[in-house]
Every structure is written in structure tokens, then in C-alpha cells.
Symmetry: C2
Subunit: 463 residues, 2 copies
């Protein structure tokens, strides 16, 4: 295609219109006008750039309007960014030799072929589904996409009480969904394969979270695998476990996700050990010229272990997409990897983590000490002071911070950020004891909980 | 003196029994038993190791019991640490040649002489007092010490409404006291010499704080210096300003403090350009063997400018005291300086800062860009999301973070810690755009306010 000045216009095809894809598209557009770069984005769902992390809060009713979760709608991308967004259009193949994608319009079944010069692969992830969840029994819901969530929300709105829910999987999403369903008035059982839900933090810290989850009224069954479902008239009526059936009017799946790489694999993109697309620091698909990838479909560097990880999270997708888009736009940007920071809220309990858990540190071959410091989020004498527990894991003998976890009642989780920045900069716990953190009685004791933990880690190292 | 094993016991004299002095004494004791180190601490007031920062909250009544502000009382130091604490005993001279201090018992006027091997100088600060405040007019209160505060609290408890207060000085303490007095039902006028109160942050951010202070019902008079007071029957009745008298039943002074170095200067300790005692990284008084100093009486290194600063703050006093105590105890520790982090709360407005303000950066000769990013403390769609403003100052052209300020309505101020750790580690705003900070809808938008500000700073640098 020729632009206004007779120059050949380059064409960018974006596969997947959520965070990573649309961040890349908009960054590319910021740097290159319509005469220089044509942008077409294919999205198989009904939505662009929405907050999947917000789904539990829409299910619970805390967020009333579904559209509140949508950061930018297709019209905005079309009108303000001149990006040709094609919803309900699923890319079915990528032909690198012909530089062409094929796609199917889901509403009318029509097939589309589009040439590309540059390809942005941002297909996200696919939920892990057990066999029993893939049959045609009604009442089993994933909550990975806004389309999935609309199904669950529709069922909740349409079904009178009493209702029993089983949530399968005790990770962030499972726990958030259990809370959301309790808030909707359901009786909720959370089934977790491992010894505890919230295994995203170490057992000692997860125990505090499990208490909070039980405090909500959620029944937790740990060490339990769901082997199948019972149905009545085509609708789920129970999940089957080794300890017998658990009645369920609805089943919500929170068994994690894996990179969505079917198209990538078929096209010959390299996949890494985690199953994600392998990309370089600039988010180029390794060894495939003109092809970029970002978000939940790629694997990324864990800066502490130096190994590849797959951490599907909107904040990474946005950052990686932005980096890809800057580069596609002719700029220079790199994505330096992640350190595993995450925060979550269970009822009024807040949980934050960064870096490695003990099991990760062990698996990565580190020798380490770990300490737990109990303190408060405000000066002890200041009204509203709440307990706050900080755990630090530090390499032995260097003292380098490897991981940190925080559990507290209020104003606790985001304090993990200070630890994340310390870890990012490879600080030792010795260095951390001197950190100049904000102090005033409404915000911290005179020895900040983070500093108390650092001192304790220094002691544990035998300094 | 001879210890149990016939070894000569070393004697440590601590001058000043608050945070720095007692932190040093307890750390030294942790490492050296009573047979090895005798410790005597002189304190002219009635209290040891209390939270001066908590005084406004005791005045307001938010903290009910005065003793809640006391971290460790003299009995604890005596019984648990074998430290001979002598309250109401003011050191009047230090004789380095004779290795002796003289002190006066304030209750009976008796004089004391004590030999030392090692001296810990921790006299804190003295409030800046204008001439008119040093006369014998009643009703003018400093609030630097718990003894000062007891005077004000006694007046408040004894005096029936209506009462009018004038707070002189619009720094942290002045603003906190203005709020405390409003909460006690007084009509409060805050008189500030400069253009705005809360000059601890730049004008643009201080403006938000000034609004919040006015919102409390405090009348703010800026650009105003108090030249004297009017009295009636020996009690203050008004403060005099160029714009006329301002009626006052009570006057509270918040004009800042300076290092308390009278004894140090008389003894020949070196003082630095800020007027504080000069110490090395281990908190040794420079060039004076066997003498240590810490807390509000010393000056310290500002890590951003490389210059000496005097920042009186309990958290620094505690850390420096601990470092001195470890060293006195035979260990090794250093205090690496400060970066000017501070947080405060005005009504429901939270303010945090770290590093340099624009005026500091200019004074230190930096070229810089500064940006302000408006965002929210939670995902915009999550209930309770509140505005949060982040300002960043970055060196041009390197992009190194020089300073940061945050103003927000809730869960905002302590987020300055992540920026403080970034600044401590000399990160550039480019590097910061990739930081792996905690994301979940109850805690942040998918682009954290800190990251949005970093991106904006990168743009301002013309990257």
C-alpha cells in the first residue's frame, strides 16, 4: 500500500486485542503516523484492553458495570489511534513465508486473509482445564476472559438462592472468586490440591491468609483433587473428590493458565522451557524477523534466578506491549524481566510478595536464611495500628535479598514495593537496615517493619 | 573500676537519654556485659526513649495516655539492660582531658562528676525561639519535648472554651499541631513566614496540603512574621504581625530546631556547616577519640547532594544510635547517610517526599526536569479509588531520580518508600518504568502511579 507521499506503508498485524497487543499498537502509532504504518488488530472476543484482574470484583457486584473494566474500547482505538480493530475475529494461522495471517469471523464464519510486514503476537493465555470441565455439562465456568465472566455473572443474576459454589484452585483468582461468591450470598467450598490455598506465599504466611479465607465463611478442602462432576439434566450438581462428592450448583475454575501458543507453535516460533514464546529483551520473537510478542503468551526472565518464567499478569503485559510498540515504532526500549511481585486482598487481609519463596530459592540452588518479623503498620500507640508480618529471605553468606512477603490487615500489601525495589537493585539486608523510609506515627513505628525484618535477617546471617 | 575477673571495666557515659543515646546504650549492652562495660546515662528530662513525633497526637487526644509515647522507661533500661539512667540530671560540661563530665541534679541542685572512657553525645536539638518567646509571658509553648508538651496539655485541660490558638511555623510540627488544636475545639490561626505552609514539598504539591489544612478550619496567614506578643496579666493575649495583632489565648511554636551543641562546642568537638556535630560513618566524633555522637545533634550526609544536612527525625536518631552502639560494643556498622524521606498526614490528606525538592536541586547545581502525574491509588473502577499525585524530579540528561513527592487521600504517603529505595539506588527514570511493583485492582491501576510518573519523566527528558 502506498501512503500519501508515495512511500510504501508498512503494515502491522496485531494478533490479540487485549493489554499487550493494544499497548504495542498504541505505542507504535504514537511514533508512526497512518501514512507510515497501517495497524490491524484481530481480537476473537467482544472486548479490547480490559482488566481481567477486575473480573472477581464485577462478579461480586463491588464493581457494578462491566464496562468499567474496559480501559479503552474499540471505537477509541479506531478514532483516536487509527487502529483497525476487528472484534470477534479469530486468527487461525500465521504464514511466515507468505507474511500472511488467516482469520475467521466468528459471527458469520467468513474467512479473512491479511498480509503483514510486522506481526505482534499477543494471544494471552489459555486456562488449564481438567477433562471433566471440557464436556457439555452446564454450570462450569472459567473466569479468564470478560466473555467467560459474563457467563458466570448471567448465571448468578438468573439463579435464585440458595446456591452452592465450588471453586477449584486456591491461587489468587480462586481465592478472589471464593470471596466474590460469598459476597453474592453463595455457600462456597474452595478445593485446593496442595496443602494450603495461597501457595503464592510460603506456608507460614499462607496460613494467615487461609485463616482469613475461612473467616469469610469459605470451606477450604486442601490436599483434594477434583476427579469429575456429577450432573442432573445436563447441569452440574456436584464435584467428585476422593473424599466423596461436594454438592455444587456452580463450579468456578481457577486452575491457572498457560501461554496461548497454538498459532505460534504451528508457525514455528521458538517456545521456551515454560511453554511461552521466547523473546529477546526488545520483545522480538527470538530468530523470527519482524515478529514481536508480549504478554501472557511469552516467557520472561526472572531477574533473581536468571531463569525463564511464565507469570501472566496485566502489569507485565502492558509493560511488555509498550516496549514492543516503542521498538516497532522505531524507538528503543527493552524489558528487563520480572521479580515476581504480586499483591492481593482477602477480605480485609492484604498479602504482598516479591522475589523467591523458600521453595523457589531452594529449587534455584540458593543457600539462604529466612526470618519473620512481627510489627505494626502504624506506631503502636497510634489509633488503628494493625499487626503486620514481614518475611525476608536472604542469600547466605552475601545477605542479598532473594524474596520478601508481607501479610497485614490494612495498608500493608503495597509496602512490598519498597522491598521489590530493594530486591530489583540487589540490595543486601545489611544495606537495607539503613534505608531512609518514611516515618511518622500514622504510617509506621519508628523502626519501620521492613527495617525490623532486615535487622532480623542480618542477625540470622550471624553478622 | 575492676570487673569480676579483675579486668578493668570500661565506662560509657551517655549524654541525653532519648532515642539516639538509649539506642546506642542498648546496642552496646547487647554486645558487652556488665563486667566489661559500665553504662551511665544522663537525661535532663523526666523521660527516656519516647516518641516526640507522637506529641501532636497526645495533645489532640487521639492518643489518650502520655505513657503510650514512651518506648522504654528508665526501669526497663535499669533492670533489663543494666544501664544506670539518671533522670533530671543535666550534663553541664565535658572535659576531654580529664575524661570527665559534670552534671547538675535539677531537683536538688547537687553537682555530679563522672569519669568516662567512652562518651556518647546525644543531646538532641533545641527549638528555634524568637526573642518574644523567651520572656516571662505565660501561654507560649514549645512542643519539642514531652515535658514541653505536658505544659501545653495541662493548659488545654485546665482552660475552658472558647479558646484561640496561634501556631507559629507551618512545617510538619506546626501543621500537625494546628490539626491537633482544631481537634481540641480551638479556633486556630497558622502563621507562616513563607508563601505556603508545608514547604517540605514543592509549591505545587504544598498547595494541595494547604487546601486540606484550610479544610480543617485552620486560618492560614502566609508571608507573615510574628514580631512580638501582647499580654494581659502576664498571659499572652495576641501575637503581633505586620498586618496587626492576632488574638491568642495560647501560642504554640513550631519554628524548627537546631542541633544542641553547646556542650560539644565548649568541649571542642568539631561542628559542621549546618551547626551539627561532625561525625564519621561509624558515628565517631571526627578527630575526638572515644567520643561518639548521634541523633538530632549531629549533621549527616545527604546521599543525593553529597553535602551535610541536619534532618532531625526519630528514625535517623534510632538508626544512628544503633550504629554507634554496635561500634562501641566492638562490632562494625556504618551509617550511610539520608535522602530526606518524610511522610505526614493532614486530616485525611497524606504527603510523602524523598530526595530533593526543585529548590534543593537548583541550589545543589543540578539540571533537571520535573513532572507531575495524576492517577489513583486503586484501579479507577475499584470502589474507594482516590486521586493520587506523584511528582518526580530527574537529572538531565542522565535521568537519575533526584526527588519525588506524593500527595493523596489514602494509602498514598508510604508509597514514597518505593521511590526512596529507587532513589537510594540511584535508579534512572528510564530504569524505573520497568519496575515490578505490586498490581491488583484494590491497590493500584494496571499502570502504577509511580510508573506513570516515571514514563512521564522519560518523555520530559526527550527520550
Amino acid at each position: 500500500m502506498r501512503g500519501r507521499l508515495g512511500v510504501v506503508t508498512e503494515r502491522l498485524i496485531v494478533v490479540g486485542g487485549d493489554a499487550a497487543g493494544m499497548a504495542a499498537a498504541s505505542q507504535a502509532r504514537r511514533r508512526r503516523g497512518v501514512d507510515d504504518l497501517e495497524i490491524v488488530a484481530f481480537e476473537r472476543g467482544h472486548f479490547t484492553s480490559y482488566s481481567a484482574c477486575g473480573i472477581p470484583y464485577w462478579i461480586s457486584g463491588l464493581v457494578e458495570e462491566r464496562d468499567a473494566l474496559i480501559a479503552r474500547d474499540p471505537a477509541t482505538f479506531r478514532d483516536d489511534f487509527a487502529i483497525d480493530v476487528r472484534l470477534r475475529t479469530e486468527v487461525t494461522g500465521i504464514d511466515l513465508d507468505r507474511r500472511e495471517v488467516t482469520a475467521r469471523r466468528l459471527d458469520d464464519g467468513g474467512e479473512v486473509r491479511e498480509r503483514f510486514d510486522t506481526l505482534m503476537y499477543a494471544t494471552g493465555s489459555v486456562p488449564n482445564l481438567p477433562d471433566w470441565a471440557t464436556g457439555d455439562v452446564d454450570g462450569i465456568f472459567g473466569i479468564q476472559t470478560l466473555d467467560d465472566a459474563a457467563g458466570l455473572r448471567g448465571w448468578l443474576d438468573a439463579t435464585p438462592a440458595p446456591r452452592r459454589a465450588v471453586v477449584v484452585g486456591g491461587g489468587y483468582i480462586g481465592v478472589e472468586m471464593a470471596e466474590a461468591l460469598i459476597q453474592r450470598g453463595l455457600a462456597v467450598t474452595l478445593v485446593e490440591r496442595g496443602e494450603q490455598p495461597m501457595a503464592t506465599v510460603d506456608e507460614d504466611m499462607a496460613g494467615l491468609a487461609a485463616e482469613a479465607i475461612r473467616g469469610l465463611g469459605v470451606e477450604i478442602r486442601t490436599g483434594t483433587t477434583v476427579s469429575g462432576v456429577e450432573q442432573r439434566d445436563g447441569r452440574v450438581s456436584a464435584v467428585l473428590t476422593p473424599a466423596g462428592p461436594v454438592p455444587a450448583d456452580v463450579v468456578v475454575l481457577g486452575l491457572g493458565v498457560r501461554p496461548n501458543t497454538a498459532l505460534a507453535a504451528a508457525a514455528g516460533f521458538p517456545l521456551g522451557p515454560t511453554g511461552g514464546v521466547r523473546v529477546d529483551r526488545r520483545m522480538r520473537v527470538a530468530g523470527v524477523p519482524g515478529v514481536w510478542a508480549a504478554g501472557d503468551c511469552v516467557e520472561t526472565l526472572h531477574r533473581v534466578t536468571g531463569m525463564s518464567v511464565h507469570i501472566p499478569l496485566g502489569t507485565h503485559a502492558n509493560k511488555q506491549g509498550r516496549v514492543a510498540g516503542i521498538n516497532i515504532g522505531g524507538g528503543y526500549a527493552t524489558f528487563p524481566g520480572v521479580i515476581g511481585t504480586a499483591v492481593t486482598k482477602v477480605c480485609d487481609l492484604e498479602v504482598g510478595r516479591t522475589g523467591l519463596r523458600e521453595r523457589d530459592a531452594t529449587a534455584a540452588g540458593f543457600e539462604f536464611v529466612s526470618v519473620i518479623a512481627e510489627s505494626t503498620n502504624r506506631a503502636g500507640y497510634y489509633p488503628g495500628a494493625e499487626p503486620m508480618t514481614v518475611k525476608l529471605i536472604a542469600e547466605r553468606p552475601t545477605g542479598r535479598l532473594l524474596g520478601a512477603q508481607i501479610v497485614g490487615r490494612s495498608e500493608a500489601a503495597k509496602r512490598i514495593d519498597a522491598l521489590a525495589v530493594a530486591l530489583w537493585n540487589e540490595m543486601t539486608v545489611d544495606e537495607m537496615t539503613a534505608l531512609d523510609l518514611g516515618y511518622a506515627p500514622p504510617f509506621a513505628p519508628v523502626w519501620d517493619p521492613v527495617l525490623i525484618a532486615a535487622r532480623k535477617a542480618v542477625d540470622a546471617l550471624g553478622r
